[in-house]
């Protein structure tokens, strides 16, 4: 069943006996094997997936089944699944096995989703191209000479290549939305705290969010409702009202001029202009200002590297993870294990984070960036007094070539220019495919909403899906 339309249809076919879940999973496993060159998966759970397919098939027959029954889902390899490997695409965790299951994954399992495997990503979710994996880069299924985006590049590539029905990624500065844009998928970064981070390997704890990639808008609310909820194991998780089919006919959409300034690819700009002219017939569209969002990248990379340097201090070669053979004393054990285990970008971020937190520089960088974070938040609060949604590009360019930006960390960071503000502020944001450029590469359109207003994002995604003829 490669022609997957949405989960409603699949469930109907399964209920009517017109589709066998076991055969469906076998088909996916075959396709995963045939598409190994994309390198989307770190691990494929063949036996478990087939077993749960049989069990869920029976449940569907009996009439008692979960909300996501039969949905085949791939999970980014930064989320724990008990007794399964968890590598974060890092050598330092090459032989690590999780001792418990992440809340988000457990919720999917409880609702009878089939977990087919764990997908590649940039090491510890640090990157914008999935080239920072210790197990090799992931290729964009649309053009295999190009990156799928990152850090959730494996989850995006797996879904774009039809190796699953939906996938789960994490978004700290755009790691769901940017790969969604690069591979022609819908990607949703929920409000910070809506989804429990328990069992998610921490990168930057006050930014990390877990969310779905989907091929259609009707799967999104289903997956989000399952993922959402307060969790005693994550003290920053918040209970939220469920996603509703919201009437958006009277909403106002704001277009921030700062997001269309220099640096934006002209083809992306003209395609978005076309979309805006179509949206104008149905919604009120106004120009708004977010004057301080140009400082987002600088603030983001100070704060997230600081949090990362602290979070990643746990990898010391003592309790778990790689331990170096060179260990003449404890200090050497720490340094050698970490230096052998971490890749270049992770080391670079630990170094930056250590520097901005160190005595004498803390106020100049870390404290300063925290203040800028508030200034940017104030910008958005003002904007949401006037509008319901904010429209922008997801990325400044379409998918770039593998190797194109690996020598220049700063130019790689600048890729996140439109996506990092939502993480600094904690608001939900979505990337929606709106057609292709002249190289046939997908273009993503981003909408941001106020906290806990995912319903509006999904409603506008549905509107675009139903009303726009793709180029």
């Amino acid at each position: 069943m490669v022609l997957y339309r949405d989960h409603d249809e699949k469930l109907d076919l399964l209920k009517a006996g017109k589709l066998s879940l076991l055969e469906n999973v076998k088909e996916f496993l075959k396709r995963i094997d045939a598409n190994k060159d994309i390198n989307a998966f770190n691990f494929v759970f063949e036996k478990d997936a087939l077993e749960s397919a049989e069990i869920i098939q029976e449940k569907i027959k009996s009439g008692k089944f979960g909300k996501l029954a039969g949905m085949v889902i791939a999970i980014k390899d930064v989320l724990s699944i008990q007794n399964k490997p968890l590598t974060c695409s890092s050598k330092i965790l090459e032989n690590f096995h999780s001792v418990y299951t992440a809340t988000a994954v457990q919720k999917l399992i409880n609702e009878d989703a089939v977990i087919i495997g764990k997908t590649s990503c940039d090491e510890f979710a640090m990157g914008s191209s999935n080239e920072n994996s210790a197990f090799g880069p992931v290729k964009n299924p649309i053009d295999k000479t190009r990156v799928p985006g990152g850090s959730s590049g494996g989850s995006a590539a797996a879904l774009a290549a039809n190796l699953c029905d939906a996938s789960i990624g994490t978004d700290t500065g755009g790691s769901i939305r940017q790969p969604a844009a690069f591979t022609g998928l819908i990607g949703l970064k929920p409000t910070y705290g809506r989804v429990s981070r328990f069992g998610l390997t921490a990168y930057a704890s006050s930014f990390d969010s877990i969310g779905p990639f989907a091929k259609n808008s009707s799967d999104l609310p289903k997956i989000m409702d399952v993922l959402s909820g307060q969790d005693l194991n994550d003290s920053t998780s918040i209970s939220s009202s469920s996603i509703i089919d919201e009437d958006i006919s009277k909403i106002k959409i704001g277009v921030p001029k700062e997001f269309f300034a220099a640096g934006l690819d002209t083809e992306i700009k003209s395609r978005i202009d076309q979309i805006i002219s179509i949206l104008e017939k149905n919604f009120e569209i106004v120009e708004i200002e977010l004057p301080n969002t140009k400082y987002s990248i600088a603030a983001y990379y100070i704060l997230t590297t600081a949090e990362a340097s602290s979070n990643l201090s746990r990898y010391d070669g003592v309790r778990y993870g790689h331990r170096s053979k060179s260990n003449i004393n404890l200090q050497d054990l720490y340094e050698s294990s970490r230096s052998e285990g971490f890749g270049d970008e992770v080391k670079r971020r630990i170094m930056l984070g250590t520097y901005v937190l160190s005595a004498g520089y803390y106020d100049a960088y870390y404290r300063k960036a925290q203040k800028v974070r508030r200034i940017i938040k104030n910008d958005f609060e003002k904007a949401f007094d006037k509008v319901d949604l904010i429209l922008s590009p997801t990325t400044p360019t379409t998918a770039f070539k593998i190797g194109e930006k690996t020598d220049d960390p700063l130019s790689m960071y600048l890729n996140d220019i439109y996506t990092t503000p939502a993480n600094l502020v904690g608001i939900p944001a979505i990337s929606i495919p709106i057609g292709n450029d002249s190289n046939n590469l997908p273009i993503g359109l981003q909408f941001m909403a106020n906290i806990f207003e995912e319903s509006k994002l999904i409603a506008v995604s549905k509107f675009i899906e139903n009303n726009l003829v793709k180029k």
Binding site: S235, V318, N329, E335, K347, Y355, V372, L410, Y413
Partner: protein, 96 residues
Amino acid sequence: MSVNNKQVEQIAKLARLKFDENEIENLTKDMNKILDYMDQLNELDTDNIEPLSHPLDLSNVMREDNLKESISRDDVFKNAPSHNEEFFKVPKVINK
């Protein structure tokens, strides 16, 4: 602000990372380029701004201090590179 090779070596020590000379050279270059970009934050007057450490306004909530089951020692040791029945093993820390 910028950093020199010596400072980068010092930061590496704090971060418990080891680099050779060549790597230090490259890191210094990369870090300076990035720090230079970050310096644009100084354009903003932040004197009367309260730092924001968390995106949502959450207040602390206390819970009852009840004992509950945690991960077993056996499970924890499954991922340990070196251990005995009770402890993780590391190289000798105190030398006579």
